[in-house]
């Protein structure tokens, strides 16, 4: 069961080493896998930066692959690209970006726009 996330809410996309060139976020951080076309994010309303890092460590990282940080975007930035953010709270605060176009080049185009829309990057 999904719930709608408010347009002004912020979400964090966790970043791994292959998503970063130095402190620059690459578009691949926002390209969903072809098999399900959904992108995991964390709804960060009312969380501190430390809380978000802790969420990432708990739910986004795996034993052999730790998140390097996260990028914050507003939900309205996804809406601007005709995407939706669906909160399922599994795990708590988890949501998925859905509504991706069928064509890969269109998804790449959208991902490049999302990189430009990043409001904040927190590494480390």
């Amino acid at each position: 069961m999904f719930s709608v996330v408010a347009a002004e809410s912020a979400v964090a996309r966790f970043l791994f080493s292959g998503h970063l060139k130095g402190s620059r976020v690459r578009p691949n951080a926002f390209i969903p896998p072809e098999h399900d076309l959904r992108l995991s994010v964390c709804v960060t309303d009312d969380l501190t930066t430390q809380d978000i890092h802790a969420w990432g460590k708990l739910y986004a990282s795996s034993p052999d692959r730790e998140a390097k940080g996260f990028a914050l975007l507003h939900v309205f930035d996804f809406h601007a690209e005709d995407l939706s953010v669906e909160r399922d709270d599994d795990p708590p605060r988890h949501a998925e970006v859905a509504g991706w176009p069928a064509d890969k080049e269109a998804r790449l185009d959208v991902a490049k726009q999302l990189v430009r829309a990043i409001a904040e990057i927190q590494l480390g």
């Binding site: 966790f14 791994f16 080493s17 292959g18 998503h19 060139k21 690459r26 578009p27 691949n28 390209i31 969903p32 896998p33 072809e34 995991s40 986004a60 990282s61 795996s62 052999d64 692959r65 730790e66 998140a67 064509d103 890969k104 080049e105 269109a106 790449l108 185009d109 490049k112 726009q113 990189v115 430009r116």
Partner: protein, 166 residues
């Protein structure tokens, strides 16, 4: 490593190869060998191409294991990587690639960029399909093409050229 393979820093992969396991490790070693062979066959090597190849190998090194993104991503695909190498080798040195990375499906992405407002990205897959998107100020461009044989599609050349146009 022999003296006539000066472009590659074998130490770049030594740690990764020695700690990788099973099929993935063997695949990576095979890929490395194939790229080295292809490179040895190339008559001319310029610094931009060397940098591009090094970037490809770094991207492969980062994404050689399943779940490299913590979200179930596929490792880079060997054929995609080799197609990316073929593509780079056929581009003029005046079009140096700025960045190389891999997506969650194992495609290799080549990116040309002079600023966040001027960039062109090509996703190369294992079949030689090219999916591309560009940002040129307020303009956006996207499309797909196919890379077979020796000829880089005109759509790709034009997209890269637009990045460097003033």
């Amino acid at each position: 490593m022999t003296a006539d393979t000066p472009w590659i820093n074998v130490d770049l992969f030594a740690g990764d190869s020695s700690t990788a396991v099973g099929v993935e490790a063997r695949c990576f070693a095979t890929t490395e060998r194939e790229i080295i062979s292809e490179w040895l066959a190339a008559p001319i090597t310029g610094a931009p191409l060397r940098d591009g190849l090094r970037a490809i190998m770094e991207a492969a090194s980062e994404t050689q294991r399943t779940n490299w993104d913590g979200n179930g991503a596929a490792p880079f695909k060997q054929r995609a990587l080799l197609n990316a190498v073929r593509l780079l080798k056929r581009l003029p040195v005046t079009m140096p690639v700025d960045d190389v990375y891999v997506d969650a499906d194992g495609a290799v992405l080549l990116e040309w960029q002079t600023s966040t407002k001027r960039s062109f990205t090509v996703a190369v897959n294992e079949h030689g399909e090219l999916h591309f998107a560009g940002v040129f100020g307020l303009s956006r461009l996207r499309g797909r093409d196919i890379f077979v044989g020796d000829r880089v599609p005109e759509s790709i050349r034009l997209g890269i050229r637009r990045v460097f146009d003033a």
